[in-house]
């Protein structure tokens, strides 16, 4: 089937509703502020009139005859005694009033100009563009005119007082006379405005006459959108909108009574203002300059605009996102004994959430068993649904009985049990791996448990993070979740074509310690290390010591590798020598795996880490996701055994460096300070050589920064010489488990320059950063260079500078996350409906081609090798048998 030009919504018409229209759509006029009579029945022509729809069960709508739930509700209306301004249009009204004649209502422009503007607006509208700019020009031009071109009336200034007062200012002999415009006056003027003039100000006179911005009739929303609630005490509690409508009707009545009784102008005006206030807050209860209408308890009322606006409003809160059933949320905690695709679910949650079983001849016995067990006996059932659709709650008492009644065609809502597929999610859901399908494991206690290796895709940690779980409710959804969203099918990230699930922190340290050691491991220890894996046999021992056989650590690691795995790569600890010695690497940084045996090299982040793990990558792509899964499970368990065998800790003593190193560091810092002083002296003497494209001041700053960062680096180097592979922090940094050598340098040697916006710290008092320094001091310590290390502690000034630099980092992250979040949201919104078709093209929902070949090359980035165009090379190598040699 080829759809030539798919249909689209052609247009949406927006306009104002005329008073006539309001009356036409109204089913009744509302005149009494009362709601229910003494018997609790709605009063005719009251706010709860049954013509407006029904909410009480048993009653029927007088308009459509529908029962509660069937009747959608119908609008009524209130005839306002005096017109009031609609707040939403107050600003526009001001503009219009200033642009039209106070006598004849004509737009104060020449006829020729009007024609020109109409033409411009029509063209813009035709092209689907906004006519806003033209219209604002019209208002600007029309305002300039002092007298009317048509009737010669002199125009007066109009003052606008928020939120809805318009005052005309007349100047006679330098004395100002102020005169308040009542809504009636304004309406008269607007009524005089011609249809052509309305078009010039960008309105469509058929759909929106200017005078319709002033309300003479107020629509009363149907009761269905403002239902009253009956409290336990039997008392009725009305909706906020109803309360507001009561106010409006009361004031409306009082106004009428007063006017008919011939009350003085002052009182009339007061009442008019009060009516204006109530109508204003009915529409929007957060207008600036208007005190919000409050409930008796002091809580501001939620009126029309509050229902729509903001995060909890109709759009963002009820339409774009809403609450769901069959979901659970709780704190997460780690459990390395779970497999990576499992999730530990608290028993309390497993008992609450259910899966609906359709009873068939094949599962009838199972279904009966669940029913028999009841809701309290864990894998039980909470409800059964009979063939006629009636739901029956399963209880401890009726379980046995009910189980016998269960028949084919019934449904049993059974509790979750081990192996059920659920969706597991952590916000913010920034990529598809933020929601993955897990298999349930029901566990005691109250937290969700997950294997720490799946933290990276969720970006989760255990400092109090909470996660959500959703239970798919039918076979199709479960199958889809299992095939598309299962953890094992999401090991690779489509973002960079490598594994996103893998070892973190201690997993990497552990395997590093294990495989980097030359330990001879006796049988007991070997079995201890491999205890958690399904390994039934140890390989041939390499030799004997004191008569007892021993194994190497590399042999132990090889046990978890599948046979047939061949790879060679450089490990993370590779020192990137100019001439790579390959197999003869003296740091044991060249990894060789042949037929699933680690022949040499050290296992670290590059081998098993999330994001980088080459072994995981290869196992998923060339073996199967199941094998990769098993490997991650085994590797993480082995590593934890490995790290516990040696013990691994870090303390303040690990930051200790010998005195001679400390004095070397001091020397370096000393000489750097001297150099900076020299630079400053040269600058002051005007001898500093200016860098191209920089001012002399910028040059000085750059030179100083360069000198100081050089000094910091060399102190780091000095400290590094005394911190060897026996140091835990070094092991973590080098193996890629956590932290970097820079972190260690800052702890042990020198913290270095603190920067704000990439520059040395300049802010503070006039001419200096802190009162501790001379004015105009350009030296290192006066602009945020921290000589001390974290271990030695910072001086008061250094501490202050450090706080400045640290604060900038915090502010940056806060700002960046919100900005990039919004950027991503817009991008996703724009592209979410695009789809790669079977012919490789990218098309939108109208079947229009967006891209002829996905990504121009048609490559699935998930299956590419770390997004490098070298997939072909790997295939050629494996076909040629190059790796195997």
């Amino acid at each position: 089937m080829v759809v030539a030009t798919p249909k689209r919504i052609k247009q949406i018409k927006f306009g104002l509703i005329s008073p006539k229209e309001y009356r036409k759509m109204s089913v009744t006029r509302v005149i009494t502020a009362d709601t229910y009579d003494d018997d609790g029945f709605p009063i005719d022509m009251g706010l709860m009139d049954t013509k407006l729809g029904v909410i009480d069960p048993g009653l029927r709508c007088k308009t459509c005859g529908g029962r509660a739930g069937e009747c959608p509700g119908h609008f009524g209306h209130i005839e306002l005694v005096a017109p009031v301004i609609h707040v939403g249009f107050a600003k526009l009204l001001r503009k219009i009033l200033r642009a039209i004649c106070r006598e004849c209502g004509a737009l104060l422009l020449d006829p020729k100009k009007k024609e020109e503007y109409i033409e411009q607006i029509r063209i813009l509208r035709k092209m689907g563009q906004s006519a806003e700019d033209v219209v604002s020009e019209v208002f600007k031009e029309a305002r300039k005119s002092g007298t009317c071109q048509y009737c010669g009336e002199a125009q007066q200034d109009i003052k606008f007082e928020k939120p809805s007062a318009y005052i005309e200012v007349d100047e006679v002999d330098g004395i100002k006379y102020e005169h308040k415009l009542m809504p009636t006056d304004i309406r008269t003027r607007l009524e005089k405005m011609s249809d052509v003039d309305a078009e010039v100000i960008g309105m469509d006179p058929n759909n929106a006459r200017p005078e319709w911005m002033i309300l003479t009739v107020l629509p009363v929303p149907p009761v269905t959108m403002r239902p009253s609630i009956t409290l336990e005490s039997g008392q009725r509690s009305e909706d906020d909108l109803t309360h507001k409508l009561v106010d409006i009707i009361r004031i409306n009545q009082r106004f009428q009574e007063n006017r008919e009784a011939g009350a003085p102008q002052l009182i009339i005006e007061d009442l008019w203002e009060l009516l204006q206030y109530h109508v204003t807050t009915f529409i929007d209860n957060a207008v600036s300059g208007v005190p919000p209408a409050r409930h008796r308890s002091g809580r501001p009322l939620k009126t029309l605009s509050q229902r729509l606006k903001g995060k909890e409003g109709r759009f963002r809160g009820s339409l774009s996102g809403k609450r769901v059933n069959f979901s659970a949320r709780t704190v997460i905690s780690p459990d390395p004994n779970l497999r990576i695709f499992e999730v530990g679910v608290p028993e309390a949650i497993a008992k609450e959430l259910t899966i609906t079983m359709n009873v068939t001849p094949r599962n009838i016995e199972e279904a009966r068993e669940y029913t028999r067990r009841g809701p309290e006996n864990h894998p039980g059932a909470n409800y059964v649904i009979r063939a006629d659709g009636r739901r029956v709650k399963v209880t401890e008492i009726n379980g046995e009985e009910l189980a016998e009644l269960v028949e084919i065609g019934w449904k049993v809502e059974r509790q979750l049990k081990d192996g059920d597929i659920v969706l597991f999610n952590r916000q913010p859901s920034l990529h598809r791996m933020s929601i993955m399908a897990h298999e349930i494991k029901v566990l005691p206690h109250k937290t969700f448990r997950l294997n720490p290796a799946v933290c990276p895709p969720y970006n989760a940690d255990f400092d109090g993070d909470e996660m959500n779980m959703h239970v798919p409710q039918n076979e199709e959804a479960r199958a889809e979740a299992k095939i598309l969203m299962h953890v094992k099918n999401n090991i690779l990230s489509p973002r960079f074509g490598g594994p996103i699930i893998g070892g973190i922190h201690d997993h990497i340290s552990g395997l590093f310690l294990l495989t980097n050691s030359k330990d001879k491991i006796n049988k007991n220890d070997a079995l201890e290390l491999l205890a958690k894996m399904e390994i039934r046999e140890l390989p041939e021992p390499v030799g004997k010591e004191n008569g007892a056989p021993y194994w190497t650590s590399k042999q132990i690691f090889s046990q978890i590798l599948p046979g047939g795995l061949d790879i060679e790569f450089k490990a993370e600890i590779c020192e990137k020598c100019d001439q790579c010695k390959g197999v003869d690497c003296e740091h044991d940084a060249y990894v060789v795996i042949k037929d699933g045996v680690l022949e040499q090299g050290t296992i670290d982040e590059k081998a098993v880490g999330a994001f980088k793990g080459i072994i995981i990558d290869k196992l998923t792509k060339e073996f199967t996701p199941d094998i990769a899964c098993k490997f991650i499970d085994d590797a993480t368990r082995l590593s934890i055994r490995g790290i516990m065998r040696k013990g691994f800790s870090f303390g303040i003593d690990d930051e200790y460096i010998p005195d001679e190193a400390q004095s070397q560091i001091n020397e370096v810092l000393e000489s750097a300070s001297d150099k900076v002083e020299k630079l400053i002296a040269a600058y002051k003497a005007g001898e500093l050589e200016q860098l191209p494209g920089r001012t002399i001041d910028e040059t000085l700053e750059m030179e100083i920064m360069k000198e100081l960062s050089k000094a910091r680096d060399s102190t780091g180097e000095i400290a590094g010489r005394h911190l060897g592979m026996e140091n835990s922090a070094v092991i973590m940094a080098r193996s890629g488990a956590r932290g970097s050598m820079l972190n260690l340098t800052q702890m042990a040697a020198c913290v270095g320059q603190q920067a704000v916006r990439g520059e040395r710290i300049q802010r503070g008092y006039a001419g200096r950063t802190l009162p501790h320094f001379d004015k105009g001091d350009l030296g290192a310590s006066a602009h945020g260079f921290v000589k001390s290390s974290y271990k030695n502690g910072l001086s008061p000034t250094e501490y202050f500078f450090h706080a400045i630099g640290g604060r900038e980092g915090l502010v940056d992250t806060a700002v960046r996350t919100s900005q990039s979040g919004y950027l991503q949201r817009r991008l996703v919104n724009a592209m979410q409906d695009l789809e790669v078709q079977y012919d490789g093209t990218v098309r939108d929902t109208r079947n229009m081609i967006i891209q002829f070949k996905y990504g121009e090359d048609g490559i699935d980035p998930m299956n590419s090798d770390f997004s490098k165009p070298e997939a072909a090379k790997r295939i050629i190598d494996s076909v040629m048998g190059k790796v195997k040699e």
Partner: protein, 88 residues
């Protein structure tokens, strides 16, 4: 708009290094491409007739243009665009 006199020194978009190769396709080729993707002409991406490159190869409204572009991912990428009237 006034018609400028040719001076022989006008900017020629097609000769610029960053402008990819454009060509107008004949009827047969168009049919073949549309059949290949199983689409109607309207489903192709669009290009204005006033686009400097389209104007340079004298493409008319309703023509289909082939654009061959150097791509960082694929090396060579082929695109087709249908010429539409620009609104100005």
């Amino acid at each position: 708009m006034k018609h400028k006199e040719a001076t022989g020194r006008e900017f020629k978009p097609l000769e610029h290094v960053m402008v990819p190769e454009h060509e107008v396709l004949d009827k047969n080729e168009i049919d073949k491409i549309l059949a290949g993707y199983n689409i109607e002409k309207e489903q192709l991406p669009k290009i204005y007739d006033s686009d400097p490159a389209a104007a340079a190869i004298k493409a008319k409204v309703g023509d289909v243009i082939r654009i061959i572009r150097q791509s960082p991912t694929a090396g060579r990428a082929v695109f087709y665009r249908m010429v539409i009237k620009s609104s100005k």
